[in-house]
Structure formats: structure tokens, C-alpha cells
Amino acid sequence: MTISYTRTDMLPAMAPPVSQRGLVKWLRENMLSTRLNVALTVLATAFIAFVAWNIFPWFWNSVWNAGSLAECRAIVAASAGEGASGACWAFLKPWWGAFIFGHQYPVSDRWRPVLAFGLLFVALAPILFAGQRRNLTIIFSVVAAYLLLTLYLASAPGLAFALAMLLVAGLVAVSQVQPERLLWFTLLYPALCFWLLWGGSIWSPIVAMAGFGVLYAIFRFASPVIGFAPAAGAGVVAAVLWWLFADAPLAGTLQEMIPVDLLRVPSDKFGGFLLAIVIGVTGITFSLPIGILLALGRQSDMPIVKMLCVIFIETIRGVPLITLLFVAAFVLGFFLPPEADFDLLLRVLILVTFFAAAYLAEVLRGSLAALPRGQYEAADALGLDYWRAQRLIILPQALKISIPAIVSSFIGLFKDTTLVVIVALYEPLKGITHLVRQDVNWKGIYWEPYIFVGVIFFLFCFGMSRYSKYLELKLKTDHR
């Protein structure tokens, strides 16, 4: 017997053997592979069929047009027979406005939140889809169509309608020529949105935004002379002085000279999804930068910074959001001077933001710790200073790892906005639904309003979840 062997011809690569594919194979492998598996499949199928059998007629017999719950029931009985069950969605007709804007937001001004909501996507698009002209175009077209329709339905005044369309058209033009300029609109959007939602004189947000202009101008001209940090400090001081002393009189004077204003709507008139979205979007926008700073602070070498961050994070995480909201609503009132008219919604916004920021900070801390030390060392060895190393090397990677967790906490934050019912704000799930169920016409209705609110929340959260998936794929560069 010989053990010597030499291959003379190398084998070419071949296609895998043709095996049976398709549904049958899949079923056999995944559903019916073992006896236990067969039993589970049968049981599960039976369960699904049972549930569907019982719920389906309820949906199938839905009634959309009726004046009251009794009328709904009568229609179901007439069409599907005595004793049949049927959903009654007719309450939506009188109540949908309350669900979306809150029952106290002035009906004549509902076009304002509608416009602000459309422009929100225009402002977000350059961040969410940076540099992707095709996606930008799609979003802008959808927003333009949305605004045309909804502003018309909400009977916006002609001037507002024309200005809004002009604005969108202008931004579309910019997106085609210089998409990076769109970020300016994103920066101005908070002021515009504030003005649209709360109303009042247009000069208040403009003069307030000018404070940032003051900050930047001083920083810009002083930093070559007195250095980076002192210039930044001087800018901040000047801006604070501006807001404290120049802001109100200047805005007042301008308003007297050129009066431009919208009907003022105080925060306690906000409700429904408008409220949920205002809290959710503000919380998300501000919690991310604050969370990043907290996470970096917790890793800092400076013991005092580190200790402050740890105390902040652990305190906020250790207390339920409901408790914080209570503090915001009732306890803060004792400590603030009585004449300080500190808006309830503003207090809620601040606490919700802090709450989300503390969670984000912990999520980010995990990803920062997961980055190999070599990344920090390579950045140091190349001479990058702390902030540049964080911004260019560390944070992009840490944020990328934590996208799923970050979006999860944003989704949680958005759903938690319903907790503000505890401080007597009319959020959609309990606040508005409660009003519907107290309405004489709809007394006794139970499932339908909750399902309606649930579906809308689902759409928002599912949207965020899909976006996170998209972002993960887009940023995937490790090719593992």
C-alpha cells in the first residue's frame, strides 16, 4: 500500500447540488421537523384561527357614520343581525380634532400645528438623509403634497398658505442646488415652530434667536484676540445679558413699529398628539446632545465633572418619570417665587429631556467602553486634541454601535409622553379618550378610542424603528 499521493489536476469550483427549494421545503424544515414541532404548529394555528374568528366580525361590522353609540349599535344590529358585535369608529368624526390638537386648541388656528408638523420633516430631512438628494426630493414632495391638502382642509388663511408654499418651493430649489445650505433652515426651525405653535408676536422668537447671533459674533471676533475659551465665555455672557435685558424691550418696540402676530395659544390649551409630539420631539432633540456630554463627563479624568455627571445620571435614573413629573408640576411651584410664571409644559419638557438624557448617557457609556483602546491611542498619536478625537473618531463609532439602543430609548420616550396625564395635561391616550368616554353620545364606548390612539402611536414608533434599521445598514462599514 502506498501513502504517497500527488494531485495532478486541481478541481474547479462547482455550483451546490440542486436541492428542492420553496415553500414545501421551508415548511418541512421549520414547522414540521419533529413531532413536538408538528404539535406546536397545529396548536398555534388553531389559536390564531380562534382569535381571528372572534375578532374578525367586530372589525368587519365596523360603523363609521353615526351620531352616537346607540345609533352605531342599531346600525350593526340592522345589518349583521341581532346580537352581532361591531366596532364603532363614528366617534372619530366629532372628536378627531381633539385627538390631534387637543380639545382646547383654537379651531380657527389648527393650520398652525399642521404647518409646523410638515415643516418638521423639512427641517429633519437634511440631518436624517444627509447628502442624499433623492431621499430629500422624495420627502420634500411628500411634504408639499401634505401641506397643500392639509392646509386647505384646515382652511388656513390665504396669506399663510401662500407663504408656506413659497417657503417649501424655495427649500426645494435650495435642495437641488446647495443641499448643505438646508441646515440653516434646520437651525431656524425651532424658532419658527415655537412661533407657529404658541403664537404671539413674531419678534419674540426673532429677537431671541438674535441672541445666538450675538454669541457667535462676539466669539468670532474675540477669539483671535483673547483666545478660544475666554471668547466663548464672553459670548455666552453677552447672550445671557441680551436675553435678560435687551430681548423683551426690543421685541416690544419692533412689535409696535411693525406688528406681525398670531393669536397667542397658552400651553395648557395644547393636547392630543400635538402635545405628545411637542414633548417627544423636544425631548429627543435636546436629550441627545445632553446625553453625549453626560456620557463623556462620566468618563472624564476631572473628578468634579465626573462626580456631578454620576450624581445627575443616577438620581434621574433612580426615580420614576411620574415622580419627576409630579415634582415638575407641583413641588417646583413651592420653590420658585410666586411671580415667576414658569410654564407647566416648559417644566415638563425640561424634566422629560433630562430623563431621556440620563438613559442615553448610560447607553453611550456602554458603547464608549466597548471601543478598543487602540482607537483612542491612534487619535492621540496623530495629535488630535480631546474634543476633535471625540467628535471625529470616538463618538461616530460609539453612536453607531448604539443606534438600536438610542432609538429604543427615543421610542420609549415618545410613548412615555402619555404619562403627562398625571399633571393634568390632555395627552391622547388617557386625557382625550377620557373626554370621549364622558361624552353623552359616546358613553359606553371602550375599545375603539384606545385602538385608534394605539395605532397612531404604533405608526410613529414603527417609523422610528425602520429608520434605525436603515441607518444601521447605511453606516455599516466594518464588513465582518
Binding site: P372, G374, Q375, E377, A378, D380, A381, L382, G383, L384, D385, R388, L392, I393, P396, Q397, K400, L475, T477, D478, H479, R480
Partner: protein
């Protein structure tokens, strides 16, 4: 070839380390290090694992802090002064065992990042420089890929090019080939030899004795945090003086 290159050593001092000690907590990791590196000199440091080789060269660009003694790099003393540290770091390039490329950036972005943000070079110019050095390490065609798509040897050559883009005066290498498969070691060593021939001041921690014999002016042997022996390569390998050196050489050359 290497003989000619060895002639280029100038009499200007590039790195001066005197009476340097370092501790990790209670552990005395570097003990009374004295060492002078001339401009254009190429030094190979070897020694058993844990002898403090990495720690020593990481002190040179202050990735590690020393507690006693003096380190002067290119005329700048390393102290707690951040300005000095940044100055030294931007003039000293470093290549790591595990490459440490930035995985979220393309090769080109890896190379242009520091020149743009630290040296304030215009983007276009930085990209031209980057392409020049990519050609030099023989992988210009990979410029738009991500590090994860390259082989280990290619990644290490990119890492070398990344350091070179900062136009450093001194290069530090910390076991640049020990994480590589044998077939990739040569391509990285070739790159380093080419760099040596151009007269770059280099300190190189490596156990590639062929490389040491070909390009080094001096080989330093370290053990237990101390410089045990140093000599020019021929003498060092053929006629080691200390018992520790003999033992070490017999171990790494033995198989």
C-alpha cells in the same frame, strides 16, 4: 543597500532620554533609562515579552507618562504642558501592532483626517499627499475602501502611510508585524526598509532579526525594564556580551 543608508546619521539629537523611570502603581516598569537617538538613526529594540519595550516607546510620544527623568523629543521636553505634548505628537508618527485604523472612515479619510484637522492642510492638498503615500506603500487602488475590507498587511501599510501623511520627523513602530500572517510580514518590512533608506529616524520594537541586521544602526536589548545591552547589529548578533542577551538570542534564533 543598507550600508549606504547607515552613513546618513547626522550629529543632531532627535530624542534624548535621561534618567527616566516609570511605575505602574507599585510596579517599577522602566528603570533608569538613558538613551540618545540621533537624527536619521534607526534603532531596533528587542527583549522578552513584558520587558517594557512598548512602554518605553509609548513614553516618547506621551501615550504613557513617565514619573522621573527627562525626555526631550526634537528639542521639546515632555512635561504636563499640553502644548508641548501636541507638538511632539504631531511630529512623531506611531505604528501599532494592531494597526488601529479608524474603521468608520475610508482609507483616504483615515489618511487625510489628521493633516486636515491638526495641520490645517486644505482638503484637496491633504488628499494629494495621501495618494502620494498610498502609492508609496503600493496600495493606491484601495483608497476608497474601508479598513475592514483590506488584509492585515495592507492595513498595516495604510497605518504607516497614515503616519507619514503628517510628515513626521520620527517614526515609532511597536511590533508592526507580530499580528500578521507570515506571507504578509514581508510586504510590511519592505515598506519599512524603504522608509529607512530615505533617512527617517526610526525606533522599532521588533523581533524580525533580519530586518534589524539589514537596516538598524543599533540594536537595544531590554529586560525587566532596563537596557541590558546595546550594540551595532553585527556585534550584537555575533558577539553578545551579557548572559541574558545570549539566552534571548538563542531562544528567538534557535527555531
Amino acid at each position: 543597500m543598507a550600508e549606504a543608508a547607515k552613513m546618513q546619521v547626522s550629529d543632531e539629537v532627535a530624542i534624548q532620554i535621561s534618567g527616566m523611570n516609570k511605575w505602574y502603581g507599585q510596579f517599577h516598569v522602566l528603570r533608569d533609562i538613558n538613551m540618545t537617538v540621533m537624527k536619521g538613526e534607526r534603532i531596533v529594540i528587542c527583549g522578552p515579552s513584558g520587558s517594557g519595550k512598548s512602554t518605553l516607546i509609548r513614553c516618547v510620544n506621551r501615550l504613557e507618562e513617565h514619573q522621573q527623568g527627562q525626555i526631550i523629543v526634537d528639542g521639546t521636553e515632555l512635561t504636563n504642558d499640553l502644548k508641548n505634548i501636541d507638538k511632539v505628537r504631531s511630529e512623531v508618527g506611531m505604528v501599532f501592532q494592531h494597526f488601529n485604523l479608524f474603521p468608520h472612515l475610508t482609507i483616504l479619510e483615515n489618511l487625510t483626517l489628521a493633516p486636515i484637522w491638526v495641520r490645517k492642510v486644505p482638503k484637496k492638498e491633504a488628499e494629494e499627499t495621501a495618494m502620494y503615500f498610498l502609492k508609496k506603500v503600493k496600495i493606491p487602488e484601495q483608497a476608497l475602501k474601508y479598513p475592514g475590507q483590506l488584509s492585515g498587511g495592507q492595513q498595516q501599510r495604510v497605518a504607516i502611510a497614515r503616519s507619514l501623511c503628517m510628515r513626521p520627523r520620527i517614526m515609532l513602530f511597536d511590533e508592526p508585524t507580530s499580528a500578521l500572517d507570515p506571507e504578509m510580514i514581508k510586504e510590511v518590512l519592505d515598506t519599512m526598509i524603504a522608509l529607512a533608506e530615505e533617512g527617517m529616524t526610526m525606533i522599532c520594537v521588533t523581533h524580525e532579526m533580519g530586518f534589524a541586521q539589514a537596516v538598524a544602526n543599533r540594536v537595544i536589548f531590554m529586560d525587566q525594564g532596563q537596557i541590558v545591552e546595546q550594540n551595532e547589529p553585527k556585534e550584537f548578533f555575533n558577539n553578545p556580551q551579557s548572559e541574558r542577551t545570549k539566552l534571548f538570542l538563542s531562544q528567538i534564533l534557535g527555531h
